[in-house]
Symmetry: D2
Subunit: 406 residues, 4 copies
């Protein structure tokens, strides 16, 4: 991905995004305590995206031919963090999951015709999309190889049968990218394929919203049933049986943009908490000058700095064309845990207000909690990080790298 | 407090409480996702307390003359944990905050007339009560000495003026125990007094519910205005200017009963999570057999065991007549943090379900979060724990305890 | 184990042990920076044990018939902590590992003749002993079932062949209690037996001291070779093939006495650090009044209190005749980690002096480090704690304990 | 600092340093368990530095005119980590503290004559140096403003009186850079000056080595007395009363090169531990495949990655000419704690061997421990990180950055 943005253009984009979020997004978010449905749902999206389009900050990651800025990953980091400062900021600037990752993936994999049919309306904000991967037990969850949704070859296309859940944004999406098994059996990695499916395809039903602790994602986290739903051959995304490989293409950058957005949100919690303790007194001192508060503040600064540093390292690898499987896994795992700690400490700094709706802090803590689970629980990431490390280090030692023996 | 309960009686009380919670409480809680108002509010309280009274398990800590079992602190630990297994269990068995602590304090401090007027209806569940202490900044929060609500002496009594918030259970309470300044100025410790005030006293207004992350406390956490509210001399609770001292009497046991109840709630989250991972497979193994899950499980077991052990040590000191300021402060601080960790790990074990309403786990995590702030934030407890330790250890060293020097 | 000690006797024993350690032990330890060999080795043991015997505080846990006080586990906790305040205190009062655990086990398992031959000289401090269990890889380490040392039946006795290491106190021990395989193969649990072996038995060779970070254990941690070493039938300890079961008998109490001793040592580090920060100034304040120091102090107090509370809970179960496998495993795991944290924070409080030999703090941190590995690494304990929890909780749920499902 | 190194040159330097450490340094270090005096002290330095000079890898950070490579900070990171893989590697390649930081500072501040007299022999490895700043209480420690050593103006120069300790490398140093008060009183920041003093100056006495837990620093950590020691005006380093400002110049880069070196050392501990668990079995499995080991491995990988990421971010700021006070403070604090955790987990992975001299792991843990204290204890860094954050965030909020209020 070639970087064509100048530092000045980037700085301007950051500044305008920042101002936009403060002017247009925070008031709506604060009034609705971060509940997108309570705030107005799809209407709010259309209203905010129109304003963002007018401000020239819509879809900064999208290809220039679709009206975006074509930012590379490193540049996205600064812009997405500013957008994420407001919980509805990503929606407003059209960089929210899952659309953002879907745009990224379609840009890399879709055919020219598919781009025209699916990517253009998505990139311009005309429609929303959903990525239908996760299934109820015993299907695909943290272990994608357990995929049970089936695609059966028929004349001229495929028929999809299966059940998905925790499908973010499903309610109201214009189309689904659906992962289904085209060969092999649950438990075997091989044989998944991605299908592009308009939401009004016969046989697709959004069954219900799964209740979750987070409230800021438009379209919810839904259970979706696929019952004999037909996909013409032209809407197979990429090659048959190549689905898991494409999911990896989507995964690395998607992990990192999650980190960018959540860093912004959690930074707001931190800043509000610091400002809070700087204006309160107890025990004869400004709260911010008490050492036990300083510990919380410093730990937050360290966690935020380490999150950003790991993020940027991974983004550089991605921008250089690497898959960055290790780097993005480490950065995602650290960030999800660190950002949760930051939000939690911010709550603690605010005392009773930190567990109330009087400040945005509790809300932000609530929203960021699932990040340690979505896109791979920390435990699964640690498992793969460890396996990769054992393999690399034993190879090196077998080649005689260190004489200290085992 | 003399212990008259036999081990057999205690075991029976524990078992009956346990069965009661599972039969009568959990279904209501689970249907309403732990939101007491959604479950029916005051009606549910009356219905459940009637059932508990019939089952002979109501108010196990209350004096026998009011229908309770007069349990000492150690015995309460086992019973309250079972009651707390359901979020509405404490309400059902009438051991919920703030009533439980108010019963305890009135039993120790109230005059005979006050006991008849206030304690009896409270202990029997006829009415609820509230403890009006915390104030908005710059008033009494973590630092009680900043108390600003004033009591002015008038003929035959006192007139109260001030504003309180985060007053648990205020909406619907039959009476308030109100802490007001009777001498000194905000910032000086001395000079607070407790007043018994029927809720229908002219000049008391429950202004609003402060929105909080927890939803299981009947009567909410309210803002309450006191405007020229009159208290006759007979309703002064204990001595004038003795309020802070009495608050300490209430504080130690109240901290410990919080720990008991939350241990029960969080144990449920842990048990459900363990049962969950014992029935799911991924990566070719039962989740419960994966080492990264075993880490979470073992850490939870250790945290629960340490919480109970510290709790019991503190209860023994209280039962022996000690104030246990150090022991209860340490036990509360450790427990609030440990129980939060346990609930958080339980969420992690359940994956996506752990941040959903499909299981009670996310709800329990939400409810227990404020415990690290209510009844003294961990930071304030650490501050006092450290000061006490410095004083004790330097005294000992000054007396020549160790020759290693400073 | 019947408790015959009165509270007054116990208090006196505690006080005398405390005074003894300060008067006789600390000066020797401080002069030698905790290195027992540098301090004089066996000579120091004899000198200090004579003083302890004269002071009536030798072997407080040993049976009364051998000159001890026969303390139960709960009472030991207080006395052993005081002895442990000095790193050589356990040696001086004859409660050091492995003798202390060996006395305990011989008292429970040995025949009358064995008691006369081995227990009496051990209990009175005439000789030291060693427990020969751990083997180099691929033998018995954290996983005892991998035991490779063999005992072969011959006429009138057994012949032992194998290699042990990390055998504490082996150099200079009067006898060994050796664990050897009498049936089954490495990897199978069954079939170990304990043998009593005088150190001068032909075929026993103390090969070398394994260098370790800790320096306070008399007799070191040695590698010991057994080559055709003969044990008469009379010196088989308990039943053949019962070795693992007996090891469990020794294990629970031995774990807890480790905790007692290390709590004393680490308490000294904490107290010296607190006294240090109470007498230093920086940034215009007494160090002890800086919040970041208060955090360290409070966390230490909490960790010490939780360690003691878990210890006492486990001791109560042991005193009641229980095996306390779960309780001692949890208490050991928590304590080893908590005490390490306390010593580490004490170092941090002392700044540069905390990593020097100017104060005992770095030395105590060094000595306590292996406790997280010896007697079962934390990781192995967590593994068994988790397995036990999964089994218990799933059984309970299978019996219908909670309706929330998996 | 202009970067003139090509990627190929850098890669070669890294590879040659890596090979050199494995071939020449590790055998000496392993034989002496990391004790530089036991390994041969100054003789070993001369021998290893000759080899490094011949290999073209000596002093890679030193200016090219003195035979170095003039690496910028980012490039140093990769080379210094490789050098640090061996505890004596920094000494061998002449990048050890305090020489490395002194070279850096002299290059920036010294006059041409001073460079010829002091920097050239230092940069080429002819002599070693020491930085005499820290004093015993109540002098300059974590709080430099408490500086008590005095420089008194006399004709033609200054006379220095005072006492320093923990002066690394003092024993055998060719010269000292001594910080002394030239105005103001202890407790006031202003008024320190740096003096260049040949070690044979009359009135300088290396009193003793302070015993410390680390053993790998040549010349020890010494107590040094300055008694009427004369410094001619020509040997004042930079301007009078500018000492604290210069110390800051030295400080940022010196913090970061510490991180680089320790990352290398601790990486070795991690790699040896991973290799160890990959070749051992217990409980029927390769240790490396047990989840509780995977947790340790993954946490180590994450900590190492975050350390490097924060380091590189700070180095970029320094290379761009920034002071990077915030970035280096955060990176140092995180790194010192993270690297300690990594070494500690490596010990845990190795079981008994991890607290022995059989593997280098315990030794590395011992050496890295003081890093959390040297160059500013974590507590002091947190204090300054928090103060900086409060100032920055409150300014931003005062300017209307967020509408959520305090």
């Amino acid at each position: 991905m070639s970087r064509t943005t100048t530092p000045e253009e980037l700085a301007s984009l950051v500044a305008r995004t920042r101002a936009f979020v403060r002017e247009h997004v925070l008031p709506i978010e604060d009034a609705a305590d971060g509940d997108i449905e309570a705030a107005g749902g799809e209407d709010v999206r259309l209203q905010l995206q129109k304003l963002a389009r007018d401000a020239g900050i819509l879809a900064p990651h999208a290809p220039v031919e679709y009206g975006g800025h074509g930012l590379n990953m490193v540049d996205r980091a600064a812009v997405f963090e500013e957008a994420g400062y407001g919980l509805f900021g990503p929606l407003a600037t059209h960089i929210a999951a899952p659309d953002e990752g879907n745009i990224h993936m379609l840009d890399h994999i879709a055919s020219a015709a598919q781009k025209e049919k699916y990517l253009r309306p998505l990139a311009t904000g005309e429609v929303r999309s959903a990525f239908a991967m996760t299934e109820p037990a015993p299907g695909a969850g943290a272990d994608p190889s357990m995929l049970t949704t089936r695609a059966t070859k028929v004349d001229g296309g495929w028929v999809i049968d299966g059940r998905k859940w925790f499908i973010t944004g499903a309610d109201g999406a214009g189309f689904f990218i659906t992962m289904a098994r085209t060969s092999g059996e649950p438990g075997s990695a091989g044989g998944a394929t991605m299908f592009l499916m308009p939401a009004d395809t016969e046989g697709i039903e959004v069954v219900r919203h799964v209740g979750t602790v987070d409230k800021a994602m438009l379209g919810g986290h839904c259970e979706v049933a696929f019952t004999g739903a037909f996909v013409p051959d032209d809407d197979v995304l990429g090659g048959v049986d190549e689905g898991f490989r494409y999911a990896q293409v989507r995964l690395g950058p998607a992990r990192m943009t999650h980190v960018m957005r959540w860093t912004g949100a959690v930074r707001r919690a931190h800043e509000i908490a610091v400002n809070h303790v700087a204006h309160r007194e107890a025990f004869g001192s400004r709260l911010a000058d008490l050492g036990l508060m300083q510990q919380l503040i410093a730990d937050n600064e360290i966690d935020l700095a380490a999150t950003r540093a790991l993020l940027l390292e991974a983004c550089r690898v991605l921008d250089d064309g690497g898959r960055a499987a290790k780097e993005t896994s480490i950065a995602k795992t650290f960030a999800a845990e660190a950002l949760h700690r930051v939000a939690d400490r911010a709550q603690q700094m605010c005392g009773g207000l930190g567990v109330s709706t009087e400040l945005p802090v509790a809300r932000i803590a609530r929203e960021v909690r699932p990040f340690r689970i979505y896109d791979g629980p920390s435990e699964v990431h640690r498992w793969s990080i460890a396996k990769r490390a054992v393999k690399a280090i034993t190879s090196e030692f077998a080649a005689g790298a260190d004489g200290a023996g085992a």
